[in-house]
Every structure is written in C-alpha cells, then in structure tokens.
Amino acid sequence: MDLASIVKELNLKVECGKDQLTQEVSGGYVGDLLSDVMANSKEGNLWITRQTHQNIVAVASLKELAGIILVQGKGPEKDTLEKASKEGIPLLVTDLHTFEVAGKLYKLLS
C-alpha cells in the first residue's frame, strides 16, 4: 500500500513531504526510544511515535523509513518540520493514540 492511501484511510494531516507519498509502505514500527527504532525498524516502515523533537528526523533518514506518524494531535516542533522538509521525510499527524493508530495501520497493511 502506498503512503497516500494510508494518509487517506487514516485521515492523517500531512505536515510535510507531500511529494513523497507515492512510496510503498513495507510495514509499521512503534517506538519512542530512538535506539530501539534504529535497531529494529525496517526500510520503508511507517514509524509511529509520540516524540516530536527534531532528533526523530535523523533516525527516519538513516533507516530510510517511509514517514513518521505523530500521535495525539501533537504536531512537530518547528525545527523538526524544517529538518523533515529538507530531508524529504513525510511527517503525518493523527489525533488518535498510539494504540489506536497502530491497530488501524496494522489492519490496513495485513
């Protein structure tokens, strides 16, 4: 499934990376510990996290993740948005909690 379809199905707000939505999503990963995401996420995964600070962008970029879903309606910080735009990492925001959005994403992808 491509990222654009997921954005539509989950009603995600696209904060940046609008031109990156055609990519295929290989799966999902949930984590707020950056080392855990570094170690265990896979290329093309959509990452769900409650971290909104700029350090998430380097992790997504290094692991070539499809994008980042920020939960509970908390949008990215200004620096995060700037960095993600520059690196071409889609930042997507949902009002849902991690559990809910992860469940919906799992259902979509399985």
């Binding site: 950056l34 962008v57 380097a58």
Partner: protein, 143 residues
C-alpha cells in the same frame, strides 16, 4: 566503484540539536560510493549510536571513517568521563543517562549493544575521567 575513502568528523558534547547529523552525512557519502545493504545499514547504526554517545556523555569526540574494498573501519575516540564498568555498559538496558537525555528518547541502554550487533569486529577500551575508544570493523557485503 572507487572504494577508498577516509575522513574524520569532530563532534561537540552536549549539542542534541544536530544529533545524528554526522551519521547522516557519513551514510550519504557511503551510499554515493555505491555501498548498499547490510554494510550501509550497519555503518549507519554504528555511527549514529557513537555520535549520540559522544553528545550524551563526552566533552568532544572524533569519528574516523575509513573505507577499503573489503571493510568499513570506524575509529571513535572521545574525551569524557570514560566507562567505569564496560561489562555493564555492554548489557542491554543498562544506562547512566540523565532524565533530560532519556526524555528525548535516548539513554535506553541500547547504544553500545546496538553498535556491537552491527560490528564484525568490535573493541571497546576506556579510561575513567579520560575517555573512551571504540574500534569497529564492518565487512563489505559478500566479502
């Protein structure tokens, strides 16, 4: 494909704003050289975790990257508090990180174990109140 490269990157401790910047730069350079797959992924993780460790704990540090047709060599030296108990530091989940560091999602006690898992050869030495020295070798894919 020209697989010969060497560069050193200096990292100042305490600056979390740009944390990961050097790892991203190294990854882009290696990718442009044609390095792919596990070698690229392992190098990205090892340099990222080393960079975060320097920022989190040391005054400053240097990451030296040397690429040959056979391997990626990482030589990471910092000036800092050193590691009192290396055996503990190698254990997943053990961390001496402050609350501030943990709040950012760092300091989970996974850094050094992650580096080791990505290394084909790994050597960690440290002197308390002096610094820490990491030597890592990552083999090229299919070599």
């Amino acid at each position: 494909m020209n697989l010969n490269y060497e560069n050193s990157f200096t990292i100042e401790g305490g600056n979390f704003e740009d944390a990961g910047k050097i790892a991203v730069e190294i990854k882009k350079t290696l990718k442009n050289m044609g390095i792919t797959g596990d070698t690229l992924r392992k190098t990205a993780i090892a340099t990222y975790e080393s960079e975060i460790n320097i920022i989190s704990y040391a005054k400053r540090g240097v990451i030296n990257v040397r690429v040959t047709p056979e391997c990626v060599f990482l030589n990471i030296k910092d000036e800092g508090p050193g590691i009192e108990d290396i055996e503990m530091a190698m254990r997943e989940g053990y961390s001496t990180a402050s609350y501030r560091i943990r709040e950012l999602g760092f300091g989970a006690g996974m850094g050094i174990p992650n580096i080791k898992n990505c290394s084909d050869d790994f050597e960690l030495t440290s002197e308390v109140n002096k610094g820490t020295h990491l030597r890592i070798v990552i083999n090229m894919n299919n070599s």
